[in-house]
Symmetry: D2
Subunit: 283 residues, 4 copies
């Protein structure tokens, strides 16, 4: 019996950075968490501890900060591009570089009704994400969104499902629908970058629009409608994966108190939770 | 040697509830986490397991939901009042009831540039809080704010502090100042409730205004200025406690790379962190 | 342009359960978190909101509790088997059922030097895990371990790696090596279940033995050595994936204080962290 | 109207450190998180930004590491003593220094049935804590324990409590009792330090013994019995505060499935939770 190394990768995670750009009339603030992962000709360190080809993960971290200084970071996708090319072109032993970036939102504080030039308040836990990797000399771009927590108080029903000995859930034609949307999509054009920021904003708005306006017969149906609408509205999107965990709002049982539940008081619960996912592609 | 029970209290924490109010043109959404704590004539259960005076914490939970149905929950302070009086007046063995409420913000989703009538997106981790307790037949109201995460990219210096053998921090006349403000304040008027929501909005805005505009010589100075400004602007506030943990942004050391730190690239760190607190009162 | 549903699955996550088995001389305690995910003939609910084939995730949850009552839960793998077969055999629209289980350890409290028959104290965050799924009428079993946090204070070096303009990490022949091992392995025999509990204990011990005794030249080398040793010692393991995030212990810089770092005082940091992974198979 | 600074303190939190002591036959490992808080003559920085008396929190952090090198850290209490005296004696403007330390447990890995000399596996989330402060030239010592998660499967009942219109909880003579014990106790003797480690172990064992063996009529009763037993067994303890949040295990309702709950299958829930506390003193 002998063992072999079938697959391997290594890198640095949670490289957090703040970039401040000092413009004449205002400061711009970007906060990112960067992940770098490399694979290629690295088996020697696994098999014999020969580190001669190993780029230390500490050096990857340094690289992220040095390149962040030089790059405008106008979009996380553009910065990820820079990082991927850097690792692939600098080190021949790197066959594939994979860079993931998460960005949190900061909003300008309003004082006297005006956006402040250099003071900010943190946004929600929503993350704008991207992952960029090289494939046969070209870059593949995925963008995404995580922790987009949304809730609608009506226009959501769930009826007609299997009823058997394990079923206790009552059918309902009007329930709260709450979820934390996680979506990622691949861009079609590799060579024509477009405006990454505008694209992200467009996709996000379509997701919100459909979530808000859809007459939902099931979480699955709304999920598909959201992805379908993105593909219809955004010709630069190749395909999209959406995951929607149900953040249940359980009707409070007022029966023991001589009162009636009137779609008014709910118990939010974190677990267990339904988890619905789907990948929507073009035909 | 004999032991005695010097102090005791018990209650229910993290009673989470969602209230939907269905108005003709839109739905209102409130999400709260409620904590109830009681003290009084409860030593028998501690000393002998005699539970005859014990209001089960499960019953407290039920009470929160039942009263939430009947109360408009126009403000968390008004709902907390209702709960405190309920426990004090219903159960003679309850001498003191203490109710704490946390409220997270939900914002309406904008679709086609308009606020949606029944679809919402979650706000930040910022919490509006209150605690209400009874004292000699009157209620004492504290309101508060937690996780108000703010950052300014300039107008913050830190110089002139003690330099000795344990000091390595360089003085700086221009640093990032980031913190997660936690503030709580007691209201002066017990009998004249005023508009709790407007008061909260006013206090919050003063805190943000001063944070943004203050030329900070130390976190301590800005903290005091924030509290002082609230007392000056809001005559209904009796005193205020503020806690400001430093959320450090550490300048990245570019020296090994032949580059210069230009107040541009920082490393955000979670720990260790400075923790500054102060209580500001009226003279 | 038209969209299509390329892939979908749905299920229930974080179904937590406690099972107490009351034996004559002692109680047994098991605490699990179960995840069920189904795929098959479910496109109708995505495409048109036709839920007639949908098994509600709430019903999945009920099923877990009902089957937990009837099953001894002698091992999480055996219980997962039961659940997978249940969903596949009960609902023709289910083509694939996937069940994941996490188990936390509880230890008996020692009183007067003896293991207590019915009082327990919680173990660490280490999780025993399994995932079971059906494939062409047979079950495929993966077992795993997560959050196995280990640290060795010596026998770890890291030298000879790439030194270039991005490198600042000093080489070291004696460092702390700390990580949170995550491993999962596939069992070779589908039809001969063996003793799942004994197998898990054997694999875990090999992982710990090699981590403790290996003279490490790199995290990668130790990772591979751990996997190789498992394959050598455990003929029932087909292959194994191991992920080892570096939990860095950074030497404290005593130079400014006229003192010398003597491999004695370290700063534990959570981020950024190195992340090493590898899959070890049989030749 | 004028404001004044009624109270203030500042310090550094989450100063994490690892100390390795290299003995001839084995290595010792200690991991601590230290918090330092100072108060005294510091109003100038609050009122005017005059930092001339301010000991930077970064310097406090350095001090912790430098003193950790010199101190054996044989117990966290002894190390906290050293830190408190350091700040009080070095800086006249410091009137009160308060040091809190948390220690996590690491256990030696067993290989071939023997405790390994330098390889460790992490313990549970249980923390050993202490807080030490100066008061009129003497030190006051509190020790404590947090996250001591315990569960008993029987010998716990809850009956005879108030039944009214808000009560739905059924009485039970046999339930699961699970909690995360948080306890802190003040030591009586200021000048006679004793063996802090042995004392901690003794108090912890009494808490576990009573939890395990008590026939509980209420959480309150068990809490008091635990504190009373500590005071009886440990003459060096002055008083003790215990907080016990209920970690509920809710009986699963098998009625809809034609089955009977037999004290066998429970649903663990995190919230809402009962929260019971008491302070037990000597008469």
């Amino acid at each position: 019996m002998a063992a072999k190394l079938a697959h391997d990768s290594y890198g640095k995670s949670k490289v957090r950075l703040t970039k401040v750009t000092r413009l004449p009339d205002r400061h711009e603030l970007k906060e990112l968490s960067v992940e770098v992962s490399l694979s290629g000709d690295f088996s020697a360190t696994y098999l014999s501890g020969d580190n001669s080809k190993v780029v230390a993960t500490d050096s990857m971290k340094n690289t992220v900060y040095v390149l962040a200084k030089k790059h405008p970071i106008d979009s996380i996708e553009a910065f990820a591009d820079e990082l991927v090319w850097h690792f692939v072109k600098t080190y021949p032993q790197v066959h594939h570089a994979h860079v993931g970036i998460e960005q949190r939102a900061w909003h300008r504080i309003d004082t006297s009704g005006k956006a402040h030039p250099h003071a900010f308040v943190a946004g929600s836990n929503e993350l704008r994400t991207c992952t960029v990797g090289n494939n046969a000399g070209e870059l593949v771009h995925h963008a995404g969104i995580e922790n987009l927590v949304v809730l609608k108080t009506t226009d959501s029903s769930f009826t007609g499902y299997v009823r058997d000995e394990y079923t206790t859930l009552p059918e309902t034609t009007d329930r709260i629908f709450a979820t934390s949307v996680k979506a990622s999509w691949m861009y079609r054009d590799v060579l024509k970058p477009g405006d990454w920021n505008q694209r992200f904003a467009e996709v996000r708005q379509v997701l919100l629009d459909v979530f808000a306006d859809h007459k939902s017969l099931s979480v699955q149906q709304t999920l598909y409608a959201m992805g379908e609408a993105v593909l219809a509205a955004c010709d630069y999107v190749d395909h999209m994966k959406i995951t929607m965990p149900n953040q249940h709002r359980v009707p409070f049982n007022f029966a023991p108190f001589g009162l009636k539940f009137e779609n008014d008081i709910f118990v939010p619960t974190d677990e267990p939770f339904g988890l619905i996912s789907g990948t929507i592609t073009r035909e």
